[in-house]
Symmetry: C2
Subunit: 383 residues, 2 copies
C-alpha cells in the first residue's frame, strides 16, 4: 500500500472488514436498551476483542467491561480499562495471572461456581497478598457453568470466600439457551427465568449477610427482548456489536445490521458445475455451522458482492482450510467473475473474527473496491 489512504480494493484477501456505521447503530440500540431497562451496560468484549470497539460501545469511555479470557483482561487493562469482569469460570491455572492484574490496580472480578476453586482463590489470595472480587455463577437453565439458584452450595461457596477474606461481588448468570429461541416472546421467557434465578440467588446471599452488590445477566437476545430486569444491576451482551447470521435467525437483527464481513476473492469458477471457489475457507470463516439448526441454514456464510449488495441464493456450502466452495444458481461469470471481490456474512462472528488480528474499518461498502479504509483496529486473540 502506498502512503495514500487505502481502499478495500488495495487490501489482499481474505480480510476482516468492519462497517463502523452499522456497528455504531447496533451500539446505540443496546445503550438505549440498557437505559430503558434501568441497568448498567457491561459489554462483553469476547466478540470484538478490541479497545476501539469497546470504548465506542460505552459511548466513548473506558468503562465497565466483560471478558472471556485473561489475555483479553490484560489487553484491555493496558488500554485503560480498569473495571473488568471475567465471566468464564476461572481455572486454577490462571489464578496467579489474575492476581497479577489485581496487584496492578485493575478491578478484576473473577467467576466460579464451586467450592474447590473458591478454596483455591482464598489460598492464592493469601499467598500473593491480594483480595479477589468473586462473582458466583448460577445456572438458569443452560446447564453449562453455574449452580442452581436454590443450591446449598451457593452458601458454601460464599462462606468460603468471606471466611477467607475475599469479596463476594455478586451473582452472575448467562442464559445462553436464548440462542435456541426463535423470536422475541420465546427469548423473553428465557430472559425472565435468567432474571428470576439471578435475583433469587442474590437475595439468598443478602439474607446470609453478604452485600452482593452486583446481579449480572446477559446475552444479546436476552438483553434485546427481556420484558424487565427488576433486581438486576447490569447486563453483559457482546455479539450485538457486530451481529451475525445466527443472531439474525434468532430474530435479533436483520441481515443489514451485520457489521462484520470477510472480504474474499473469487479464485476459480465452474459455471457448468454450478460452483466457484473463494480464498476464504475454514480458517478465514471458521467451521461454525450454528445456523444449521435454524430454519434458514446459511451454510458457512451468505454472500454479498463487493458493494455489500446481497447475492441471493449464493452460500458458502463447503470449506477446506483455505478454500470456500460457493454453490447456487447464481454461480455465473457475469455475477462472480474470477478475481472479483465478495463479502461473506458470518454465521457466528465470535468464531470468524477470532482468526484475524485486525479489522479494516469502513463506513459502508457502497463504494465497493474504492471504499476508503478509515482505520485499522487491532484485536487480541488467544489466551
Amino acid at each position: 500500500m502506498s502512503d495514500v489512504a487505502p481502499t478495500l480494493g488495495d487490501l489482499p484477501t481474505p480480510c476482516l472488514v468492519l462497517d463502523r456505521s452499522k456497528m455504531e447503530r447496533n451500539l446505540a440500540r443496546m445503550r438505549a436498551r440498557a437505559d430503558a431497562l434501568g441497568v448498567r451496560l457491561r459489554p462483553h468484549c469476547k466478540t470484538a476483542k478490541s479497545a476501539e470497539v469497546a470504548r465506542r460501545a460505552l459511548g466513548g469511555d473506558a468503562g465497565p467491561i466483560t471478558v472471556s479470557t485473561l489475555r483479553e483482561a490484560q489487553y484491555f487493562a493496558e488500554n485503560g480499562f480498569s473495571d473488568i469482569t471475567l465471566a468464564v469460570g476461572i481455572s486454577p491455572s490462571r489464578l496467579n495471572q489474575a492476581a497479577g492484574l489485581l496487584a496492578r490496580g485493575v478491578d478484576l472480578a473473577v467467576t466460579t461456581d464451586n467450592a474447590v476453586i473458591a478454596t483455591e482463590i482464598v489460598a492464592t489470595a493469601k499467598a500473593l497478598g491480594v483480595q479477589f472480587a468473586v462473582m458466583i455463577e448460577v445456572d438458569v437453565g443452560e446447564h453449562r457453568g453455574g449452580i442452581e439458584a436454590r443450591a446449598a452450595e451457593l452458601m458454601e461457596i460464599a462462606g468460603i470466600l468471606r471466611d477467607g477474606g475475599q469479596e463476594v461481588r455478586g451473582i452472575l448468570a448467562h442464559a445462553g439457551h436464548t440462542y435456541g429461541c426463535r423470536g422475541a416472546d420465546a427469548v423473553a421467557e428465557v430472559a425472565e427465568a435468567e432474571r428470576a434465578g439471578a435475583v433469587l440467588a442474590a437475595e439468598r446471599l443478602r439474607q446470609a449477610g453478604h452485600a452482593c452488590p452486583v446481579v449480572s445477566v446477559g446475552s444479546t437476545p436476552g438483553a434485546l427482548f427481556a420484558r424487565n430486569l427488576d433486581g438486576v444491576t447490569e447486563m453483559r451482551p457482546g455479539v450485538y456489536m457486530f451481529m451475525d447470521l445466527f443472531q439474525s435467525g434468532v430474530g435479533c437483527c436483520g441481515l443489514e445490521d451485520i457489521a462484520v464481513t470477510v472480504m474474499a476473492s473469487v479464485t476459480n469458477l465452474r459455471p457448468n458445475e454450478g460452483s466457484a471457489h473463494i480464498d476464504a475457507g475454514a480458517l478465514a470463516l471458521s467451521k461454525d455451522r450454528s445456523t444449521q439448526a435454524q430454519p434458514r441454514d446459511c451454510g458457512f456464510g451468505l454472500l454479498t458482492d463487493a458493494f455489500g449488495r446481497p447475492l441471493p441464493g449464493l452460500t458458502v456450502e463447503a470449506v477446506h482450510q483455505e478454500h470456500g466452495r460457493i454453490a447456487g444458481a447464481g454461480v455465473d461469470p457475469a455475477i462472480l467473475p474470477i478475481g472479483s471481490r465478495v463479502h461473506v456474512l458470518p454465521n457466528h462472528v465470535c468464531m470468524t473474527a477470532a482468526m484475524y488480528d485486525r479489522y479494516a474499518v469502513v463506513d459502508g461498502l457502497s463504494d465497493g473496491p474504492k471504499q476508503p479504509v478509515v482505520a485499522f483496529w487491532d484485536r487480541v486473540n488467544g489466551w
Copy 2:
C-alpha cells in the same frame, strides 16, 4: 514462570502441547515413504506452520516446502527456506506480495487453474519485472481446485504463461477425497487416480513442448498408501507430522501417534448430571466435527489424563466459546477432579493448532504435570 525450566504443570491452560518424540516418529515414517516411492518430499507446512517443525520434517535442512498462504511463505523465507510452493490457487489480490518474495530471491512457485489468473500473473510479472514459476492445478476427482487433466484449458493456461515469459513449473494435484476413504485399499485407489491424472496432464504439456519438470501430488493418506508414484516427482503431505483423530479414522495412524494435544483444566464437575467442563472450548479446540462422518464420532475431541493415558468413553461433546463440555460415564471426581489437567486429542489438528501462536514442546507426557517443557516453538497464523 521462574528461571527454572518450566513443566507442563507451570503452564496456564488452554495450551497447545507438542510431543516431539511422537512427531519425530511420524516424520521419519514419511521420509521413509518418500524414499520408498522414489519421490521428493515437499512437506506441506499448513498444519505445523513452524520453522522448527519444517526443518525436522526435512531431516534438519531448510529444504523444499509447501505452504497454503503467502504469510506462511514470508515467515518461512525469513527462516531460511527458499524453495517454496504455494499449493492453493493464488488470488489476484496476492500477486504483488508474491512478486515481492520473488524479488527477494525466494524460489516461490504459485498455483492456478484458470486462464484469467494466468493472464493476471503475466501482467503482474511484466509490471514488476519478475518471472513467476507456476504450477497448473488439475482436478483428480475432489472437484475443489483444478481443471480436468484432459481439458483443453490446460494447454490454454500453459500457452498464456509461456507466451507471457513465465515458467510453467509443473502440474499440481491434491486428492483431498482420500479423506473420505476408510483403509489402505480405498486410499490407494484414489491415490492412483491422482497419480494418473497428474502424470497425464504433465505428458500433455511435454508433448506441447513445455519442460514441466515437476509433477506434484499429495495428501497424508495418499502418501502413506499409494502403491506407486511412477511419473510423479514430489509429494506434499502435511498433517502426518502431528496426526489427529480424523486421520486415525481414515486408518493413517493410531491414537498413540497423535503428537499434538490441547492441555486443559477441569473447571467444574456435576457427577449427578454426568457432565464436567474444561477451559478449552470452541476457540481452543475449533468447531471441527469431521469425525462425525466416520464410524467413530469423537465429538469435539477425545480425552486423556495429564499423563497421556486415554480416558475411555470421555469426549468433549459440546463447545461454547471458552467452555468444553465433557460427558460420559467417566465423569467422576476420582478421575476428573476440579482443577486437574487433561489433554484433548484434536479432530483436525490444522484447525485446532491455528488458534495458538506457539507449541509447548515435550518428550512424552509420562511425567504429567511434572513433564519438562523442552522448548517453545512459534507458529505463524493468519494471512
